[in-house]
């Protein structure tokens, strides 16, 4: 018998997942746009979503200390270690990627204004060489995130269809698998 994740954790997980996918697509599309009002809007959305992911991840960390996750589903120790490591790395990336984007924006001389309303302080001064370097950092970190998300999704599917355990189901918002307890 294993426990379902709590509603707060499930909500934060899926909202973050949706924002990550949206922002990866938005980031890739916006850079290809010609300079236009649409491009400015998309950059504003991209940066605002990024900061939102940072905030939601902070909230998740706080939430899981108040409402701990259920005990892991039984699985071989190497899989448990791999899951723990990849989850930790995902959290790290969800903090570091928005920060790298914010740094990059500052270095190009463009202040980040959250939701077009809340101006955030510039983290570094305008510096073209630094900006070019940070762009590479931001893009590379996102490539890592993308790879890790693929591993995360493949692992969840593998657990569900091959191992036939509750790893995936206990994170789903609506489905209630037999033998699973919703807290």
């Amino acid at each position: 018998m294993s426990e379902h994740y709590n509603r707060g954790a499930i909500t934060l997980h899926w909202v973050t997942a949706a924002l990550i996918v949206a922002n990866l697509l938005l980031g890739l599309s916006m850079v290809a746009l010609p300079v236009s009002p649409r491009k400015l809007h998309w950059y504003l959305f991209h940066k605002s979503i990024g900061i939102t992911i940072f905030l939601l991840t902070s909230l998740r960390i706080a939430w899981r200390t108040i409402r701990p996750h259920p005990a892991p589903v039984p699985m071989p120790p190497w899989q448990r270690r791999a899951a723990r490591a990849s989850h930790a790395l995902l959290y790290v990336l969800l903090f570091v990627i928005p920060l790298s984007g914010w740094l990059y924006s500052s270095a190009t001389g463009v202040q980040v204004v959250y939701l077009g309303v809340v101006p955030l302080p510039d983290l570094v001064g305008k510096d073209k060489a630094l900006g070019d370097a940070l762009r590479i950092v931001h893009v590379s970190l996102n490539a890592c995130l993308f790879a890790l998300v693929v591993v995360h999704v493949v692992a969840a599917i593998k657990h569900h269809f091959i191992d036939r355990d509750t790893v995936l189901v206990r994170m789903l918002p609506i489905v209630k698998a037999p033998g699973i307890v919703r807290p």
């Binding site: 236009s36 504003l44 202040q111």
Partner: protein, 188 residues
């Protein structure tokens, strides 16, 4: 002979030119700047012009004969990225192919008291001329140069700067803050 009549005329012209040279302040270009800030959806974008030419004669005690004329090479615009610069030079913004230079010529300079002055004049930008008032604060730097510095708000749509898809002020504010700093080495 006609030569005897030409010579005094030529000398007179030379003297006049010389007087003109004496009267123009020399602008210390590397310490001077013309830059601007525009705001798009709450985000500020800074830019400046790399190339411009200023003919300034400023005498606080002789404001009636003081003048300022500035030519700005719009193609020298410096923005955050080269693709923004290309857009700024394009037909929707400065349209530098047709209007390469912005020109300002003062018509009067007024003393506002306390080292503050107001320069009024005509600004021609993108083939459109409007009256323009620039408030300046004048000080003296360590090297004894006269520093005139001020900021004024330019309504970009008055000059058709940012047309078409850019015309909506919900995206890009109509007000562009232009900052001018002229460091003058007085010769008079």
């Amino acid at each position: 002979m006609s030569g005897s009549r030409i010579l005094p005329g030529a000398l007179g012209a030379l003297a006049f030119l010389a007087a003109g040279v004496v009267h123009a302040d020399s602008v210390v270009a590397e310490k001077s700047e013309i830059d601007f800030t525009l705001k798009a959806m709450g985000v500020k974008f800074d830019g400046r012009f790399r190339k411009w030419k200023a003919d300034v004669f400023f005498q606080p005690k002789a404001l009636a004969t003081s003048t300022a004329a500035i030519d700005v090479d719009l193609g020298s615009v410096d923005l955050a990225s080269s693709e923004s610069e290309t857009e700024a030079k394009g037909p929707l913004w400065f349209d530098t192919a047709k209007f390469p230079v912005a020109h300002f010529a003062s018509t009067s300079i007024r003393d506002l008291g306390g080292d503050r002055y107001e320069v009024t004049g005509k600004l021609m930008l993108k083939g459109i001329t409007h009256d323009c008032a620039v408030p300046l604060t004048v000080s003296t730097d360590a090297a004894g140069n006269r520093v005139a510095e001020g900021t004024f708000s330019l309504k970009r749509l008055d000059y058709r700067i940012g047309e078409g898809e850019w015309a909506d002020t919900a995206t890009v504010d109509n007000d562009i803050l232009v900052h001018v700093r002229m460091v003058l080495k007085p010769t008079g």
